[in-house]
Amino acid sequence: MSKTLSFFASRWGIISAGAFIGILAPILQKLGNPANMGICVACMERDIAGALGLHRVDIVQYLRPEIMGFVLGALIAALMFREFKPRTGSAPIIRFFLGVFAMIGALVFLGCPWRALLRLAGGDGNAILGLAGLAFGIWIGVQFLKGGYNLGRATATKPAAGWVMPVLMVVLLLFAIFTPQFAPGGPIFSSTKGPGAAHAPLIISLVVGLGVGFLAQRTRFCTMGAIRDVVLIRDFHLFTGIFALVVVAFVVNLILGQFKPGFANQPIAHDNYLWNFLGMTLSGLAFALAGGCPGRQLILSGEGDGDAAVFVVGMIVGAGIAHNFALASSAKGPGAFGPTAVVIGLVFCLLIGLFMRERSRA
């Protein structure tokens, strides 16, 4: 077991996690997932919000089994390696709103950091603006971290608290399989057109999700952490993982004929440079303040981290808000109130960064 443990923690371990996602995400696209969206935690949670009726945009409603797979795959890994540790109590309400604003920023850009990398690997030049914004947001977060920003300690709690998210995911999975209708004209909704109607077969999505969840739990794969560690401590360990993801996804896209370079008319994207940049700046800052990218938060919630679970729920609610209040972008550009929401989100995050500070005890 210890040899396995050291492999996952090694440089080759993190590279294998990035490469695994880099291979499977473009294949999921080939099998039906939307273009440059083989895996996108933000988009997939947005689709889940739609399927549950938290927003009513009929082209983005589907219970994406990848998300359930991530949490349950992480749960399996955590149980196998004795890392399932129910814990909570580190400023949950703040984490909830960091999740809300992280999602709003991601839906102004149209993607989470994983999708930003996949968009880059698919030739979408707008991803460069998004990734630059992400890095800038994380850089701001690092300045707060250096200044003593801290959301406080979590404490160990009873196992039941750690099982809430995995059980919720099993319930969502059952809804995805049986798509019950709870009221006439009500949820569970499933898109019949648009990105929500584009999906790989359920079982394949689930198996890929389980595999990614397992590997990401073992290797601590995190896109936000990758950039943060470079800025904060000049450590390139996690960064090699996201680098591997981009390189491998690029090659697989080339092989599958999915590489289409350019800025205009990219799939499920817009080319407004400013709001691509600032949307991801907001997300990057919110991720940095919460301690993980959306994928990592899902993985942590599978390990029993109740605070990460609150962030995930915040993101799903945030998706509802983003679409109900015309904040989310479309291929035409930012939504009517998207830019305003990004500014409000940035102000919120800056205030949290300033006020949630602990004087150094050392």
Partner: protein, 71 residues
């Protein structure tokens, strides 16, 4: 010089931030770090090794005590 850091219950990257501040301040010597997740243990160990510290670890009831040492 010896220093003790209790990073139990702190989420990523707080344990690393605390240890980095101590390493930057002390430069060498002994630092005792308590963490309660394997992730924090790995991250702190990697940071310390990269800074030239030797790391020994001890597990006690799901918590980890790391001894970082540099002459």
């Amino acid at each position: 010089m010896s220093e003790k850091i209790d990073a139990r219950g702190l989420s990523c990257p707080q344990p690393v931030v605390l240890v980095k501040k101590a390493i930057d301040r002390l430069g060498k010597g002994e630092i005792e770090v308590w963490v309660d997740t394997v992730t924090s243990k790995e991250n702190v160990s990697r940071l310390a090794r990269n800074a030239g510290f030797q790391v020994t670890e001890q597990e006690e009831e799901g918590e980890f005590m790391l001894k970082l040492a540099k002459d």
